[in-house]
Each structure stands twice: as structure tokens, then as C-alpha cells.
């Protein structure tokens, strides 16, 4: 069974290569290094001795800092991924793309209300010049059908485009390969905010709660709680009623209605 040494966590984030891991050649910006197989590109680059300033962020596949292009020796196909999420292979030739110039016009979200699709056309005319090559979709490390959300934007289905682009980490790989010079990810950011503000229905219950807060409704309740001895507070805490897991939002009501 698990012995103590196994429950002791290893230092930091250094990878532990499995026993007998094979050393394989990779090419970091053309220079050859031997690294243990199964590492991610990011950990392999660090294993080789590089220390990141750019090109490294969350190390968990969500921030888009470590966009990477790679090929394998002898294969013409260009591939793309996130360095922190892509596993290396023998003969992998790697370069990261820590920054890529994008087009992002300013706008005032509060002053758009009217024709949302028209505003997209005004700010991002290039979106409507998509030639449908699909390179963006093939390049996306998040498996987003980028070309399809661009098509939805062209058609005026902004909600569809927002939902389809939602997993975007804004790494910029799509824009770097686009022959029509579109910055897909910035246009999608704009569309998602339009949808969040103008197309998704507002939460009425939230608005009501905000006005209750602003009217000072909870101030006396807080005063009471803050003035309590820890022992009494503990009793209140233990007595709390727990909303059932499978209840629909806003339906269940507690016995204690005095503090709502």
C-alpha cells in the first residue's frame, strides 16, 4: 500500500519522468536537445535549460501565453498547439509565438444598442472578407471551429458565434495564419461582449437583490452577526439549512425567511 515516501509530494512542478523513460531529440528553434519523452513542450524547454520570460503563463492551458508552432523532421505538415499542453515527440521542431500583432479597434460598449451586426461590420470589415480556407480551424489549439464562428458572424448569428468561440484562450494562432488578415479572436471578443450585454436576457432576480443591497437592507443583519460571540455564531452556522443539490435555481425556500 501507499508508503510514506509516496505520499510526500515531489518538489514543485519539476516533472518526474517515468522509470526508464527514453531520451528523444527535439529542436528548440533549430537547436537539438535530448529530453525525456512524455514531457510537454513547456517542460521540455525548461528541461533543456531555458528560463521563460515570455511565452509562459498559467501553465494550465487557459491563458493563451504559450502558442507554439511545430513540425516533425521529414513531415511537411505545420502543426500548432499550446506549449503547456502539447506532448513532445522525436524530431519535433519547435518555435513559440509569445506575441502576435492583432487588430483591435476601440469601441464604447454602452453606446452600441442599435444594429449590432452593423457595428461588427463597421469595426471589423475584414471579417466579411473571409475566404473560407479553414486554416484557422486547423490551427486552433482549443479545437474551436474558428472558420465556422466567422461564418456565423458574417451571417449575423452573433449568439451562435459567441457560443462557438467561447473556449477561445486568445493565443492568436488563428490570426497568425489567416490569409485574409483577420484577427478572429479579437472580433470574437467583441461579439461575446455584445451578446453578454445585449442579447442574453438580464437576470431580474439579481437586479432586485442589487437594489436591496443598495437600500442597506443587510446592514443591520451584518451588524448583528459582527457583534456575536464566536460560540453563538458557530451555533448559527451549524444550524444552517442546506439547499438540496438537485433543486431548480430560485425555487427552494428556507424555513428562516427573516434573513432573506
Amino acid at each position: 500500500m501507499a508508503e510514506d515516501k509516496k505520499t510526500k509530494p515531489e518538489p514543485g512542478d519539476l516533472s518526474i519522468p517515468p522509470e526508464g523513460a527514453k531520451m528523444i531529440p527535439i529542436y528548440i528553434m533549430g537547436s537539438e536537445y535530448l529530453v525525456p519523452e512524455t514531457l510537454t513542450v513547456m517542460k521540455a524547454v525548461e528541461y533543456a535549460g531555458y528560463r521563460y520570460i515570455r511565452g509562459c503563463g498559467c501553465r494550465g492551458g487557459i491563458c493563451g501565453a504559450c502558442a507554439t508552432f511545430y513540425r516533425f523532421v521529414g513531415d511537411y505538415k505545420l502543426k500548432a498547439g499550446l506549449a503547456c499542453q502539447t506532448v513532445i515527440g522525436p524530431g519535433m521542431i519547435i518555435t513559440q509565438l509569445p506575441f502576435f500583432p492583432s487588430n483591435r479597434p476601440d469601441y464604447n460598449l454602452d453606446k452600441i444598442e442599435g444594429d449590432l451586426h452593423g457595428e461588427l461590420r463597421r469595426l471589423y470589415p475584414e471579417v466579411f472578407k473571409c475566404i473560407g480556407c479553414g486554416t484557422c480551424t486547423r490551427t486552433c489549439p482549443m479545437d474551436i471551429d474558428v472558420m465556422d464562428y466567422i461564418a456565423l458572424m458574417k451571417r449575423g448569428d452573433l449568439k451562435g458565434a459567441a457560443v462557438k468561440s467561447f473556449d477561445c484562450v486568445m493565443c492568436g494562432l488563428c490570426a497568425s495564419r489567416c490569409p485574409a488578415q483577420i484577427s478572429q479572436f479579437t472580433a470574437a471578443m467583441f461579439v461575446r461582449r455584445l451578446v453578454g450585454k445585449y442579447i442574453l436576457p438580464r437576470a431580474g432576480h439579481l437586479e432586485k437583490r442589487v437594489s436591496e443591497v443598495k437600500s442597506g437592507r443587510y446592514e443591520n443583519m451584518f451588524k448583528k452577526l459582527k457583534g456575536m460571540k464566536t460560540e453563538d455564531l458557530k451555533k448559527l452556522y451549524v444550524k444552517r439549512e442546506r439547499e438540496p443539490d438537485l433543486s431548480e435555481p430560485g425555487v427552494w425556500m428556507p424555513e428562516d425567511k427573516e434573513h432573506l
Binding site: P9, L109, G196, T230
Partner: protein
């Protein structure tokens, strides 16, 4: 094809064998009994890493002198400056601003937008890109008592009970009270929250919540919030200047000790910049990358406690700095995903935590420190953990229950990022469980602040993970995203009010560094390290050995 080894696949059969009965129980609303308050305390003391004596020692200088803190923290608090105060001409000011914000994550960005609305000029100094922060990694959601059966009163109770009643009550009430205002602000800015067709927010439970109040945007709630806030800052670039890859390395103080700006360091050109500011907000986040007690971390690359180090030298005191949050469910398999956060939402959606026999051994939604203690106990003393091929140990997180409980496709829809991150390694988490173990997740303590985000040094404000007291010694899920926004906004407002109240300009000095260096010397600290750390160093031994000279 599965990404699991044949040995692990055999063990998964035990999980599958108990699943039917467990799902039936869950459908009836029955769950594994939660620990009593007494049991919680006993288990924490026995199994939580905060209560180990090894790896901790007294810090010997500064406002918290004599307090026992993790070794990694004490070393940095006793570090010397990168700057030699005698060599710097502070008369040559590179930037002047009303409000300087150090840190470009959720708290700093919320502060920037608020200060700008208050009519202030703003500079945001950030070590990596704008938005690179733990905020983007917050997955499961943000708490807010928005539903009719809930209220800020119950939110307060959950927060302070979850923190074992060690929280600062005035910070807890600010957090619970402002939550609806903050969520409504985000809605106004175009954040795409998960909603029902009529606009009602979808909500879920988190560990330690009495009401379903976790609001989400897919399983990338923090990333969605951060990208929207960052986008809005770009619309306001006339008043908000963002300096990327230029972290602050030292605060500036005037002759009375008031903070009056900072020295920034361009990581690429190695130049230093002097920024004179009427008010300064520290929002540099937490200390995950210090790898307290050797734990892997879920934190982003820049989480190295820089703000703590700088503010401490300027005289700001710390609260609960010895308290670290280990998230119960960090991935331990495959090796490529080690440290990766598995959001609490997985358990919020009903997934059980199981041992090697496929048996439940704890209520899956205990407060985080309690849940972690349960897992550490099961893998250690109870000896019922699962060992991975690289020698790590963990328990099962039975994600396939989710589709059975809520319908096919729920995992893919509600946990898209997690689904992709495992699919890359041929593990379909809607059909196979994940292997998890606690991972270093959050700095519970930090700079002491009041309800208006003021530190105890004049002119210096702090918000977000860098500050302490809000969550006491344990934070509940969904309250950190809320914290960065509530106190980010409060800091922005408070700093703006302070700027408006100032009658004359101050002259920046580095006198506090001279004093601090003398204190280090007097304390007899030999060869202090240089701080702040700025970036972690993962150079492996075989390379280090060859870096001669």
C-alpha cells in the same frame, strides 16, 4: 483506447462496480455524512500540511517579526532589495500618475477601471502580460447571494464558518454585501454568465455553501471575467496605461513613510523606471510558485509573492501568512497534467471522491482544507490511495457520475476545458474517473487591510490574493474571484478618494530600504537572498551543474 495503464484500468473496474448504487443514493438526495465541527478540527490538526512543524520557522525582521511562517516565505521576507538605494537618482521621474496599480490580474484590473471612472490617471505595472494571473485559472465560479432563497446574511455565515471563524468580520460583510453589485457590473460589461432562457442565473453548490450561489461561465469563469475586464481597459487606454513585463521591484516612500510610487524593472531591457504616484495599490496575487512544502501548484507562472515582499519592507503587516490552501483535487495523472486544477464544480455536479476500493470515505463538498485533510489521510495513514506509474498517489474523482445524474453530454457541456485537457491524453472524463490529490492553490493570508482596502501604511492599498483576512484560514470556492473584484473595486475607489484628499506632492525616497537593510544586518541574516523573486526557476540539476562561473 484509454490513456490509463492496464493496472489503473483494473482499479477503475472497482469504481464502476460501486457506481450504480452510489448514483441511486445520490438521486435520492443521500450523501456521505459530513464531519462534525469537532471532527473537522481534529482532522485538520492531524492531517493538514499547515499544522506540520517541519518547513516552518520564525521570521526575524519586519512588522511580523517572531511569527512562525513557511520557510519559503520567511526567506523572502528576510531578502534584500535588488536595488542599491545609494546609486539611484530619484529626481529623474519616468512616469507620474494619480494611481499606480502593481499587478494586472483581476484585482488590479478591477481597481484600474474603478479609479479611471473616478477620474484618475492610472498606470498598471504587470510582470507578465496584462491578465496573466490566477484569476484566469478560476474555473468553477463566483459566489453571490442572488437567488430568492439566499441572502448576503447566509453568504456571510458560510464564509466565516468556512474560515473557521478566523476571518476579519468587516471584510466578510463587505464581500457578501458587494457580491450582487459586482456580478451586476460584470453583466453590464458583457460577461456571458450561464443562464436559463429567462435570464435567471444558473447556480450550483460549492464546498461549504448552504445555498446554491455559484455563478459560472462554462468552466472558465475566471478567464471569461479577466478577458472582458482586460478588453474594457483597452477601450480606456487614454487614461489607463499598462506596462507589461515591467514588474515593480520596490516601493517608494516619502520622508514620513507614506508610499509615493514604485521602481519598475523592464524584464527584457533590464532598465529600471521610476514611477511617482499619489496612491499605490498592490494587487500582485499569491505565493503558489514558492511551492510551500514542496507541493505542486495550480498557480500561474508569476505567483511569487512579490507584492508581499515589497510592502513588508515598507512596513505593511501581514495576517494569517502561515495559512496555505491546498485544493483537494489537483490532477496527479497523467504526469503532463500534474498540478492541474480540477474544479470543485466536478464535485458540485455530484462526482464522488473514492479510494482504491472504489469506496466513498468523505462528504465530497467539505470546506477545502477539511476535504484535503480527508484525502491526505486516506492516501497516507489509511493506505487506500492509488499509486501512479511515476510514484505519485491520489484518489479517484468519479466524473462519469455526472452524465448519469444530469444526462448525457453534461460533462462536455459543463466542463469543456477539463474534457479537452484529458482527451489529449486519451482519457474521456465523461466515461473514466480522474486521479486527484491536494495541490497548493491559494495564499489564505496576506497584507492586512481594512474594509476600504487600506493597508496600515499610508498611501498603500491592497486587494485580491495578496491581502489577508477576508477568508481567514480557509477560503471557500468561488470567493476568490469575488474577493478580487469586490476589493479591487474598493481599492480603486478608496485610492481615488485618497488622491482627491491630498493637498501637496511628496518627494519619493528609498529610505525604508536603507532602514530594512540595516535591520537585516542587525538580525544577523547572512547572505540574504535577493527579492522579490519575480520568476520561479525550474532549471534542472543537470543544467545547473554546467552553468559554470
Amino acid at each position: 483506447m484509454s490513456g490509463y495503464t492496464p493496472e489503473l484500468k483494473e482499479l477503475i473496474k472497482k469504481v464502476e462496480a460501486t457506481r450504480g448504487k452510489r448514483v441511486e443514493k445520490a438521486k435520492r438526495g443521500e450523501h456521505f455524512p459530513a464531519l462534525t465541527m469537532d471532527e473537522r478540527e481534529r482532522w485538520l490538526k492531524k492531517y493538514h500540511p499547515d499544522y506540520k512543524s517541519e518547513g516552518r520557522r520564525k521570521v526575524s525582521v519586519g512588522p511580523n517579526k517572531g511569527e512562525v511562517l513557511p520557510e519559503e516565505v520567511s526567506v523572502l521576507l528576510e531578502s534584500k532589495s535588488m536595488l542599491n538605494p545609494g546609486n539611484i537618482d530619484l529626481g529623474k521621474v519616468d512616469f507620474s500618475t494619480d494611481v499606480l496599480i502593481i499587478g494586472g490580474g483581476g484585482a488590479g484590473t478591477a481597481a484600474a477601471l474603478t479609479a479611471e471612472m473616478e477620474g484618475q490617471s492610472v498606470i498598471v505595472s504587470t510582470k507578465l502580460r496584462h491578465g496573466d494571473s490566477n484569476t484566469v485559472m478560476a474555473e468553477g465560479g463566483i459566489q453571490c447571494a442572488s437567488q430568492e432563497g439566499d441572502s448576503p446574511y447566509f453568504h456571510y455565515l458560510d464564509v466565516i464558518g468556512g474560515g473557521h471563524f478566523t476571518n476579519d468580520p468587516s471584510l466578510v460583510s463587505a464581500l457578501a454585501n458587494d457580491a450582487p453589485v459586482v456580478i451586476s457590473w460584470l453583466e453590464e460589461l458583457g460577461v456571458m454568465f450561464d443562464k436559463l432562457p429567462d435570464g435567471r442565473m444558473k447556480v450550483r453548490h460549492g464546498g461549504g455553501t448552504s445555498r446554491k450561489r455559484m455563478h459560472s461561465a462554462g468552466d472558465m469563469t475566471g478567464a471569461e471575467i479577466m478577458r472582458v475586464l482586460k478588453d474594457e481597459v483597452r477601450n480606456r487606454s487614454e487614461k489607463i496605461k499598462v506596462l507589461e513585463f515591467s514588474p515593480a521591484v520596490e516601493l517608494l516612500t516619502d520622508k514620513t513613510g507614506k508610499v509615493s510610487g514604485a521602481v519598475l524593472h523592464n524584464l527584457e531591457t533590464k532598465e529600471y523606471y521610476i514611477v511617482k504616484a499619489k496612491a499605490t495599490i498592490i494587487a500582485t496575487g499569491g505565493f503558489g510558485r514558492l511551492h510551500i512544502q514542496g507541493f505542486p501548484t495550480t498557480n500561474h507562472y508569476g505567483a511569487t509573492a512579490d507584492g508581499i515582499v515589497m510592502a513588508y519592507r515598507a512596513g505593511a503587516s501581514l495576517v494569517d501568512m502561515g495559512s496555505t490552501q491546498y485544493h483537494p483535487t489537483g490532477a496527479v495523472y497523467p504526469e503532463q497534467n500534474v498540478g492541474l486544477l480540477i474544479t470543485e464544480k466536478v464535485r458540485g455536479l455530484g462526482a464522488h471522491i473514492l479510494n482504491i476500493e472504489g469506496e466513498e470515505f468523505c462528504f465530497p463538498l467539505e470546506p477545502r482544507d477539511v476535504e484535503s485533510s480527508c484525502i491526505i489521510r486516506e492516501c497516507g495513514e489509511a493506505g487506500k490511495g492509488i499509486t501512479t506509474p511515476t510514484g505519485r498517489v491520489g484518489t479517484w474523482l468519479d466524473s462519469p457520475m455526472i452524465d448519469i445524474l444530469h444526462g448525457n453530454g453534461t460533462v462536455r457541456k459543463e466542463l469543456p476545458a477539463k474534457y479537452i485537457q484529458f482527451k489529449r491524453y486519451n482519457i474521456d472524463i465523461s466515461r473514466e474517473p480522474m486521479l486527484v490529490y491536494p495541490t497548493l492553490h491559494y495564499q489564505n493570508g496576506g497584507l492586512k487591510i481594512d474594509g476600504e482596502a487600506r493597508t496600515d501604511v499610508e498611501g498603500l492599498f491592497a486587494s485580491g490574493e495578496v491581502s489577508g483576512g477576508v477568508h481567514g484560514r480557509n477560503r471557500l470556492m468561488g470567493n476568490s474571484l469575488l474577493d478580487v473584484l469586490v476589493f479591487g473595486k474598493r481599492a480603486g475607489k478608496s485610492a481615488s478618494d485618497y488622491v482627491k484628499s491630498l493637498s501637496h506632492e511628496t518627494v519619493p525616497t528609498l529610505d525604508h530600504i536603507k532602514r530594512f537593510h540595516r535591520e537585516i544586518e542587525k538580525a544577523g541574516i547572512e547572505n540574504p537572498v535577493t527579492g522579490p523573486m519575480l520568476l520561479p526557476d525550474y532549471t534542472p540539476e543537470h543544467v545547473r551543474k554546467r552553468q559554470w562561473g
